[in-house]
Amino acid sequence: MQDPIEALTIIFTEFYYWVTVALMFLIHVGFSTYEIAAVRPKNMQRTLMKHFMVIPLVTITFFFFGWWLYNAIPSGPGITGGILDGAGETAAPWSPLMAPELQDRLNGVFWAAFLLFSWTAAAIVSGAVLERGRTGAFLILGTMVGSVTWVIDAAWGWHPEGWMVQVMGYHDAYASGVIHGIAGGAVLGVILVIGPRIGKFGPRGEVRDIKPHNVWMCCVGLFIIYTGFWGFYVACNIPIANISTEGVYLSATNIYGMPTTLSGITFNFLMSLSGGILAAYLVSRGDPFWTFSGGLAGIIATSAGNDLYHPLQSMILAAIGVVIIYKLHFWVERRFKLDDVVGAVAVHGYAGTFGVVVAGFMLWGYPAAAPVEGVTAWFTTPEGWPAVNPLGNLIGALIMFGVLGFLPAFAVAKLLDAFGLLRVPRAVELAGLDAHEHSPSYPYFRGADVVDGVAADERALAEAMDGSSSNGTGPAGSVAREDTRR
């Protein structure tokens, strides 16, 4: 690079994506923390290893073929064209650009940013097999979603030349459907085959609540996921690009090359997070797990349009989406007896699908991407560019959740099940996945029966409140209005 401005632009872009990759690691720290906390202690270590081992597997397979898929098949192939020119040169695993190369500074960081999206897609699927799935089965399913199916949907609907963008006007700026819809659909496909955990449903079909073994750690995990999500959002943008069709006007763009600003998405990220949290708190009556999950679901429910929404639109849509997905989760659980341990189908699948569908209405008529020569869109802007529209996003949501999410995962889960490789033996599930091979997760955790002064005081107060003993003095401090009425 000999031109200083060009060099600064490229090196800034290189560093920009590199930082997003580091930030997105936090998504997986959060996922690990949250899932380990959500399971019972007898399953913790296997849950951790299952989640952790999919990371290197998706990494190497995304190197072998994932990145090439994204670059090669936006046109279908066979829908709006063939294999894209230059895909092999950029992304074939034997290409010099897939290695340290002095004339290229961007391919590696682009690859890594997409890889971290892939980890996220795979990680979401791990929720499907918690406490009863074989590690090997999940590693196959996670690799399939992380390095194949989500990459296909990204090529089709998350690429400026993707056929869904060019023909249908599909718009999904921060991956409501592209990541979350497909992963939620895959979770649904797997849990339909694997079945519920032992004891989840009673003899009359009643739903039993198998609680997280550590609620606060679940919530901390979700908090860490929020933090990593900043990297996710920023990585979905191109930091500097010329967006003018005549002359030069430099701006950040979304992944389709359409203008947005980091400032704008910062508004919307925070407002949708807040809308989701506030709604989830009310609808779940302050349940910590669902309140924190509601924040995540709020972001996901608006991500498709968070490049362009007004912050208050984001907040309101997030709140509506969260109420819907919360109700839907429990209705599906009761009606169809599906054991979705961490609510992954709801938080990712339903919220992502909601986000895509709503964006089609909210952004109706906006340019989806610069047109590709020879491709005719269903709906166009006055300038002839493919236009965002409700039908395109509705069908797009179905493709993400159903065609690329649910169906492949269901089919592969069925195949694994046919070989007896999907679910652990019942005795192992009863004893716990960690029980035989690993030492106890909390070897010295035997404090439940400890009686100290605090416990004695609490017990005495409880007995007094029950009327089984009288203790003349009440606890020190102010008295709640409810207590004065007793």
């Binding site: 034997w94 010099p96 340290p100 192992v428 004893a431 716990g432 035989h436």
Partner: protein, 126 residues
């Protein structure tokens, strides 16, 4: 002898920075074979683990596996194998049959000592 570059004097003419340029396809083939072999080996290891676990649980009896403290109250595999050989039947699930108790202090050690086997040292067991 050199494996790649021997000068950085003309950076505009330099492309690949890694050694052994030309070996990329071979590296990819080796990588894919290793990846697939890893999956196969992982599944074999996991199947072996479950087989061992089921043999152990059958010997001990599931109800005892699920007693207070769960599997923490079980002796380690080696000790159980020793005690299992003196059991009167395959359903040696009662505490007296194995000589172990589900005491709050943990019967892993008592089972080991009762069985008279060496067992694993505590550091390995935990």
């Amino acid at each position: 002898m050199g494996t790649g570059l021997d000068s950085f004097s003309n950076p505009q003419d330099i492309g690949a920075l890694y050694p052994f340029v030309g070996s990329e396809v071979l590296l990819v083939v080796v990588g894919i074979v290793l990846w697939l072999a890893w999956h196969v080996r992982q599944i074999v290891i996991e199947n072996q683990e479950y087989r061992r676990a089921l043999e152990l649980y059958q010997r001990v009896g599931m109800s005892r596996v699920l007693q207070q403290g769960g599997t923490e109250s079980l002796a380690d595999e080696q000790a159980l194998a020793t005690s299992g050989s003196s059991d009167t039947g395959p359903s040696a699930g009662s505490e007296s049959a194995t000589g172990a108790t589900a005491s709050p202090t943990g019967s892993r050690h008592s089972a080991t000592s009762d069985a008279g086997g060496p067992g694993r040292p505590e550091s390995a067991a935990h």
